[in-house]
Amino acid sequence: MYLSLSDWTARRDAVDRNRASKVAFKASPTVIALGIVSMLTDISSESVAAVLPLYVTSALGLSMVAYGFLDGLNQGLSAIVRIGAGYTADRTRRPKPVAVVGYGLSAVARVGLLFVQGFGGITAIVGADRIGKGIRTAPRDAMIQSSSQPEHLARSFGVHRMLDTIGATVGPFLAFVVLLIVPDGYRVVFVVSLAAAVLGVAVLGLIVPNLRLHRPVAASVDVPSEAKKDGAARHTGQIGEVLRGRLRPVLLATGVLGLVTVGDGFVYLALMSHGHLQTFWFPLLFVGSNAVFLILAIPMGRLADRTSRSAVFVVGHVALAAAYVCAGLGGTLPMVLLCLVLLGSFYAATDGVLSALASQRSPSGATSTGIASAQTVVAVTRLVASTGAGALWFVFGAGPVMLGAAVFMVVLVPFAWRLLSKRNDETALEIER
């Protein structure tokens, strides 16, 4: 579990095809603990998210209309906070306290939920929760990276994402069970949610070790010129360094693919638009793709470690393109199921793998900033793509928009692949050693 620093730096870029099979996989207790933290936090946030509209309208007697107006603002704020938190984790070299602040903020927001009644209060709480999410993600992924075996990095992220997705699936289920037993028991849901959040913070605070990220100077195995630049960058601008370094192709490829990732909301809407499915099934589509995601998270990570993380990440987008085609062409049951399988596979092949890829390619000592940058690129480009798809939706209709997105995706995938494989530092380093 505790790798020495030199051990890690020497092996951090190892992608020798056989290496992943030579070194036995051992799930790090820290990764599992972080997965349980995420699972509890997702149970907490998704149980509230599932009943919040019902609570706001039927218990508080308010409409949900103002909710949407603040959404864009929150997302923008979350992106800025994310990079700031990643940067802070790197500068202090202690990601845990930053993550504790993020998880803690979301837990505190749950307390507020028990007391507020007005709309302003509800939006403030949802905003605080989202900022908390922005703060915690990158430091947490940096902790996963630094406590994983480098040969099995993507698989470790897979373990974490599986636990995380279990939480996201259990949360709404738990909330509806509570409401079934105690109708109008929204406060019970909030109390249960608070308990899960507090437990999550407790596991993080008490069980997850306060890891110290490796220092940049230890990166002597890295390309020397880059290591020197690293040192200077700590004082001038680490973020610029991250953007110029080996991570750049990852950010560019992620951005290019993100621009045609229109969001699952549209995929579900396209599936519904064929008229075969009753609106009743809508929430279950999320459950379906989540189930596939959690089943495939580990196998996909394993595949990425054994073959190539870049390849699995890029090919995952082909699965998304295929899901678009499915959603665009038909709404019959086999098509819907195929679409959900493809969508779940896409998440399994890209979500954790991107964090593995980003942390592997971040300059030493800037892992959190690197991961935060990649996640921000994903968030921003997907928002642009969804806005674009939204603007074209009524002009061309659901089918053509989906098929168009699939065509663009298929065209851009080879381009992204070229970006990722052009500077194949992975092999370069292997040779150097």
Partner: protein
């Protein structure tokens, strides 16, 4: 090595975690049991309002009873000439209710996994006639003079990280008359066609013939639109107007108007004179979030949540004149509907 010393207190940490877990889980279970007991009291205890059996007939005000005790959440009605008198209770629980032309539209939540929603159409005595599934949380409902039912539901995503909500407003009759989702109608905003997918329609109010008014929202802006069922078109009338309600004489439309400025959302009431285009603003101390219902040409009604009591509300009345102040009309009630 420091890490190792740090972890010498491992046992202490695990003990602390187990203690926190026991407290959190135990606390939740105890709270849930108390809530369950409270809920039992709430639905079986003596009603906080005076109640009678059966809905009154004739001219009446139909609403959702929010008085704690027996009949909580169920459909109720009072005679139009004795609104503060005892309320007759129906059997059906409803989140939103509307009554007109011998029909009652009841939008309700069905607890389950997952929780689902439906519109139940009742006859004037409150007996079920037919049921349609709803795609989301009940929000608004109205019935036209020829028996068409308009409903607005909030459709929400699974995760608040994605698109947070959209509305689905449909108009249909009990027979095979079905105008579908109003989002698919042609929308003209200040004369030009709205093509964005980010479009939502809510709060229908029926006027004469095939015409109606509603709210269209896109890109954070809202408009009062006048609609035609025959041509399936919605045309903007004025900006910043939500949940319209046409007066019984058909000359005015009242709606909620968002107060400009950032921060918490605050809605006032505005009354638009359709002939002159003159808008009268009624600034409110407490924000209003309901679709207005006209008691008569000189009085408007709306529901207002009770401060300090989640799940209870009152129906207030207000005159449609500038700077009028709301007054309590029916206690422990929600979603008023005047049936003449």
């Amino acid at each position: 090595m420091t890490e190792r010393q740090h972890w010498s207190s491992r046992r202490v940490r695990w003990t602390a975690l187990i203690a926190i877990a026991a407290l959190a889980l135990g606390g939740s279970v105890i709270y849930a049991l108390l809530a369950f007991e409270r809920y039992q009291d709430q639905i079986t205890g003596v009603s906080a309002a005076s109640v009678t059996e059966d809905l009154p007939t004739g001219s009446r005000i139909v609403f959702r009873n929010t008085a704690s005790g027996e009949g909580y959440g169920k459909i109720a009605a009072v005679p139009l000439d004795d609104p503060q008198g005892p309320r007759g209770l129906g059997d059906v629980p409803c989140d939103r209710v509307y009554a007109a032309v011998g029909m009652i539209s009841c939008m309700r939540t069905i607890r389950g996994i997952p929780t689902t929603f439906e519109t139940q159409v009742l006859d004037s005595k409150g007996h079920p006639v037919t049921t349609w599934p709803l795609p989301g949380v009940p929000s608004r409902t109205r019935i036209s003079h020829d028996g068409l039912v308009a409903t607005t539901a909030f459709v929400t995503g699974h995760s608040y990280a994605t698109n947070s909500f959209s509305t689905e407003t449909t108009i249909r009759g009990t027979g095979d008359r079905d105008y579908g989702n109003l989002e698919d109608f042609r929308m003209l905003i200040n004369g030009s066609e709205l093509t964005a997918a980010d479009r939502n329609v809510w709060g229908v109010t029926f006027a004469s013939g095939d015409s109606f008014y509603a709210t269209v929202a896109s890109g954070g802006e809202t408009w009062l639109v006048s609609g035609s069922l025959r041509t399936k078109t919605l045309k903007s009338v004025v900006e910043n107007a939500e949940c319209p309600s046409i007066s019984p004489d058909g000359t005015r439309v009242a709606f909620k108007k968002r107060r400009p400025g950032v921060g918490a959302v605050h809605w006032d009431i505005a009354v638009l004179d359709l002939a002159s285009g003159h808008e009268t603003l009624l600034p409110l101390d407490r924000s209003m979030d309901d679709q207005i219902e006209w008691l008569d040409d000189g009085t408007m009604l709306f529901g207002s949540p009770r401060e300090g009591t989640v799940g209870d509300s009152d129906i207030l009345s207000i005159k449609p004149v500038a700077h009028a102040a709301p007054q309590l009309f029916i206690e422990h009630a929600w979603s008023p509907s005047v049936e003449r």
